[in-house]
Amino acid sequence: MAGDREGIRRRFEERLLLSRKSSGNSFITLASTPGGTASGQLSGKLAGIKDNIAVKGMRMTCGSRILENYMAPYDATVVERLTHSGAVVLGKNNMDEFACGSSGENSAFGATGNPLLPGTVSGGSSSGSAASVGEGLVDFSIGSDTGGSIRCPAAYCGVIGLKPTYGRVSRYGLADLSMSLEGPAPVAAWGGEELLASVMDCISGFDRRDQSTASARKTECVRQLDSFDPSGLNIAVPENALLHCTPQVVAAFEHALSFMGDAGATVERVQLKSLDVALSAYYLIMYSEFASAMQRYDGLKFGTRGEGYTVEESILNARSLLGPEVRRRIMIGTYVTSAETRGAWYERALAARDHVSSELNDMLKSHDLLAMPTMPSAPYRLGERINDPLLMYASDILTVPANLAGVPAGSMPMGPGLGFQLVAPRNGDESILAAFRYFNRRGWHW
């Protein structure tokens, strides 16, 4: 055992050095020691943790100046479970500030580079999580997914990412962006399905500190990993989703789809009618919950202190430490939840969400899986869309439905910077990983 521990320490030191030298900027903070290395299922596996997830004694910036000096006083449940199983935290991953962004460019600590396609965006908001895995600095990473935040960078960086069923993985210790939509989400390299399955089995299940897990069953991803059989499966493909995609994306998607069709799956072309309202519903709900969650950063309580005498002045000064996208979202969220406009916006968004959720859940009752591209286009050049928020928001259209419905969804590579997305019914996390494993085992490559 002593030899093992020495091996783990050496590997930790070696990756630490590589991470320091890397120009990818996928970490905000690196760990100084491997910590107490427990032995278990994940013994010695090196992990990146998105910087909006609390690791006791390490700073947690959420990619923001306002939390530049905030030390997390406790471990998130996922971190506690991972380290108890022997995983070793290498560092805290870079991210779009307070998870606001889909490109990895909105961090106060600089943009995250794409290791697969240098010069293009890495995707966001879990940019560093996917990039550090893609670059081979860590074995896996835990990001979070609110509206595609793990699937988008997984697609752009050519790795696999899973957004679990809402309520199956504890959110305790994950800094709030939009509480009713988000959860921790793991990412690993292509070929790392078994590791991803072990990670899911480790972090999932009931946690008394997060009520959304009240009825959660632990996943059995490892046990079911080789159980995927496409013959006889009924896979829904929303055709209207493809209208939003570039020809390059559609071609890669059809190619991946035929791989399953050839193996005996029935592919049924359907219409996901509520897709038209999904994006607006998602952004309105997210803005509203975000404005509430961000209320605590007044410059008086956490991290950086705003200068000023009165509470109001401190708030104003502290808020000036936030980036433009974060401020934009707080302003809109405050507006849509104010007494005068609530009925017009927030209440309608909640109704639209129910609409999307029931259509998607119904579709997943009559079909085993739903397949779509993850992102409508390949990663664009750094800086290309940063000043056009609407264009940036539009790229989330294929990922937000799963969040609105609380169902699991995963992304695997189907082309350079392109992701193939599978959506399963609630608690069907296992079948998504098993499907990815099937592709890999049967020699799928683009």
Partner: protein, 450 residues
């Protein structure tokens, strides 16, 4: 001063239910004795990423017990916890968790109630030192709201007294800090004025009286009474405008996405009876209200009252329990549960029965009662003492002795100060070692005094 017409008064009573833990975390809810910022955790200090636990069930059950006793309608749909947003240094997340009503309607002292809901207390901010103590942050509160239908300060006093009585009867209140009250008062022709954060019933009465005078004075002089929020200075006994004006701000109420709504209708609540019904029947059967209230404030005393009354009568029983029994308990700093313990109640009831029927003298009764409190079994002694009184000849002898050794007192009696006979009765009782009824001693003394 022309008396200004109708007042409209409403109360918002923020009750501290007796709980072990805070509302949404497992921290101790003790904020009165613990050292500052020791009963805290990531949840109640609002650390980024912390999540609330489900609402404290002890608090919810206490609210449901109150609602049932007050004949309120318990919510048929699941009750959501809400976020109320405002900036304040003692509020770690800058939103306070409150809730939809768990029950609505109902009456107290004949006044309509609006609703009751749970919420969490903010921390305590020391403005002078600029220090925040978060021990109180997240402590459970139940807010009981009346409609603005009270007419004067004594109505408010009656409602608050009954609220306290109910809380005590149900054993769900912290005796050292039962509640804090916000009250609103408007006079005809004036706007509504709110007075916040009053910590005592007498404070509420004084604040309302002060506001009544202040507002009627303004109206008499033809000046407007503006809508505002004031605070009450308990030392100066006056209300003052709030230093930080709470503007008509928009709290942006929103369901807390982290908390699952509670189906309160499905929660089992113990039925502990209704103190107001008990109070009413005690008073109707002749008990004095003051005594009856003292008894109803504790269910062990109610139990004792029922036992004693079944062997005597309501008037005697209420007096015996409220004064003699409570007196002994208070003197020994014992909890009322003591009387309910191991066969004690049987002995106490036997003493009371013998006393009320005149088979036991005051002095013997009191001394036997004390023996019970000292932990002795008095059943045997009770049997030998009961009905054993001095005969008429010894009474007469003792009366003669006492009169002859106190000639000056006897003289004052004869001159008309009849109340001094009590002093002579006491001396006789001492000589008779309590084995006599006071009224028989009086007869013997009067015969001798002429």
């Amino acid at each position: 001063m022309a008396l200004v017409a109708a007042q409209k008064i409403g109360l918002e009573i923020h009750i501290y239910p007796r709980t072990q833990c805070k509302m949404f975390c497992a921290c101790s809810s003790d904020f009165l004795h613990a050292e500052a910022n020791t009963n805290v955790c990531p949840v109640c200090t609002g650390q980024p990423g912390s999540k609330p636990m489900s609402p404290n069930m002890a608090c919810v059950v206490a609210g449901l017990q109150m609602a049932r006793t007050l004949s309120m309608d318990i919510s048929a749909s699941p009750v959501s916890t809400l976020r109320k947003h405002y900036f304040y240094p003692d509020l770690p997340s800058n939103y306070q968790r409150t809730a939809e009503p768990l029950a609505t309607g109902g009456k107290l002292q004949g006044f309509e109630l609006r609703e009751i809901h749970w919420e969490e207390d903010p921390g305590q901010y020391d403005m002078a030192k600029g220090v925040v103590d978060l021990n109180r942050s997240g402590v459970p509160l139940l807010e009981l709201v009346t409609e603005p239908v009270l007419r004067n300060p004594s109505d408010a006093k009656a409602v608050l007294n009954d609220t306290l009585l109910l809380l005590q009867y149900l054993e769900i209140v912290r005796e050292e800090a039962p509640f804090k009250v916000d009250t609103n008062i408007s006079l005809e022709g004036g706007e509504r004025v709110e007075v916040k954060n009053i910590n005592s019933i007498s404070g509420v009465v004084r604040a309302l009286e002060f506001e009544f005078e202040r507002q009627s004075d303004l109206l008499d002089r033809g000046l407007p009474v503006q809508q505002e929020t004031r605070h009450f200075d308990e030392i100066k006994m006056k209300t003052y405008p709030m230093r930080f004006k709470e503007t008509a701000e928009d709290y942006r109420y929103m369901r807390d996405p982290d908390i699952i709504p509670l189906n309160v209708g499905e929660i089992a609540v113990p039925d502990l009876g209704n103190p107001f019904t008990i109070l009413e029947s005690m008073c109707a059967s002749g008990a004095r209200e003051e005594d009856a209230r003292a008894i109803v404030s504790n269910r062990d005393l109610v139990f004792a009252y029922n036992r004693v009354a079944s062997g005597s009568n309501p008037l005697f029983a209420s007096h015996f329990v409220a004064r003699d029994l409570r007196g002994e308990l208070n003197f020994r700093k014992m909890p009322p549960s003591f009387v309910a313990g191991e066969g004690r109640m049987t002995q106490i009831a036997a003493i009371a029965a013998a006393w009320s029927s005149g088979r036991l003298s005051n002095q013997s009764s009191t001394s036997l009662l004390r023996s019970v409190f000292e932990g002795r079994d008095v059943s045997a002694e009770l049997r030998t003492t009961e009905g054993v009184f001095a005969d008429e000849a010894s009474l007469d002898r003792v009366a003669a002795e006492v009169i002859s050794s106190n000639p000056d007192v006897a003289e004052r009696y004869r001159k008309g100060s009849t109340e001094v006979i009590n002093y002579l009765v006491g001396l006789c009782m001492k000589k008779l070692e309590g084995k006599a009824r006071a009224r028989d001693v009086v007869v013997a003394l009067r015969r001798r005094l002429g």
